[in-house]
Subunit: 312 residues, 2 copies
Amino acid sequence: MPAKKNAFYAQSGGVTSVINASACGVIETARRHKQQIGKVFAGNNGIIGALQEELIDTSKESTKAIAALRHTPSGAFGSCRYKLKGIEENLAEYKRLVEVFKAHDIGYFFYNGGGDSQDTTNKVAEFSQQQGYPIQCIGIPKTVDNDLPITDNCPGFGSVAKYVAVSTREAAFDVASMCATSTKVFVLEVMGRHAGWIAAASALAAEKEGDAPHIILFPEIAFNRDKFLRKVDSCVKKYGYCVIVASEGAQTADGKFLSDAGSRDAFGHVQLGGVAPVLANMVKDALGYKYHWAVADYLQRAARHIASKTDV
Amino acid sequence: MPAKKNAFYAQSGGVTSVINASACGVIETARRHKQQIGKVFAGNNGIIGALQEELIDTSKESTKAIAALRHTPSGAFGSCRYKLKGIEENLAEYKRLVEVFKAHDIGYFFYNGGGDSQDTTNKVAEFSQQQGYPIQCIGIPKTVDNDLPITDNCPGFGSVAKYVAVSTREAAFDVASMCATSTKVFVLEVMGRHAGWIAAASALAAEKEGDAPHIILFPEIAFNRDKFLRKVDSCVKKYGYCVIVASEGAQTADGKFLSDAGSRDAFGHVQLGGVAPVLANMVKDALGYKYHWAVADYLQRAARHIASKTDV
């Protein structure tokens, strides 16, 4: 029987409100199988922690602290946006990884991230075998965008979906109750640079014809200014108000992001970010309706207080 | 014994996540005292409903529907931003009000709103007495800004405070976990055009030195660009990241709102709103840190899902 090996766990890419619940699952499960798995080390700031040999020994944490991970949004051990390229291009880094894993007697590698991370997990598995130090590599899916192949609902998405649906509904009630004399158009910007799942989830706020959201803008469907404005106008005339949920990645047919529409500050500097204010100004200029806009940004992917049961 | 009179209830100004709970309280209490109070009529879109004689007969609503008000954000009967001026200036409107109240046998007027509404309530009481049709007028406090005189915590404020504190904490965890390689500065814009209570509530997110929020910007304290940037820089150097919560009404010493800093779109039109993007761009230009920003807008005052026990 081979000697018991340790495990290495790392968080990767943008964090979510429930990625720590995955960490909790790995660590608690390993603790329940002490015959098979030794210590669980976590990478300080993700895979960078392995490359720089900054490993967090989770065995030093109390049962209570590990259990609390389940309720803590963000990445407790730190995450990073750091992509390992192909083995040929990045040979030194792959070698370094296996070296560090060897030094800490690591036989299991859990990588908690999106599509790129799953790919890296696979490459590390192949490379470690080539090096004669086979590591069991397990990718743990994570993304708020729900754009991972194979998975139907990726952990993280359900919670953002719930946040966006609830927020859309609550804010829409607000707008509806004042539209007779005040704000008539409300724009909520949500995450999703290339995938519209989060924006699509806002549709859960509607129960019947006429309920908000009245318009959802996806990165996958080219934005058409005239069509958009016509729809806004007809909604206001029909329902008294119009609620729009826009993916941050909403773009025109030529692939230009609406958020890069070239807003400039007083000094002529290009202003970054915010498809919501761009849309709101478009509505104001063309239709003159009083508007409000919100940008949920990190609030949506950190909202552990309203996480979904599909996740935790 | 005088004949039993009906009651009129109206919502006024910006709605909150709990103003319907006040409506619920009025209606349920009246129903429990049928010997003293007849029907409760609600104004369709607030006081405008009285002026235009659009009264909603709440006695037609089921016990269940009225109880559900307690859990429904926004103004269920519609609210409006419509201020009655002094009696001399607006004599016709005051007369109209008393006329409508007489026509519907209304002896009690409940006005659910902020400072101006409380003032109107008082004026209606005085005027109705002058007219020989004395109406018992009761102001029900409502504001998210917590800027009502006399009240310590106004219904509505506690819930926004909780939303902002929780959101700040959750988003700060997110930023902290990725700041080593990604976003280092996060700006959350909250409501409060002239009162900083909501922004101040974000401080509840901090438990110890170094916790977010690191900077809070108030309308009451003049914004100083150099001081602000120095503080941002020192926070990033000390803690690795910096979380800023800014009142929408943050302004410079000369009373100019930061959000009116003169951003212009590609066509040279002034862009409205958003102190958060203005601050974020300021940080980027002066310090070069990667940033994110969020504008909670209506989400904060509609967030019934996380309302405070001080309110409901």
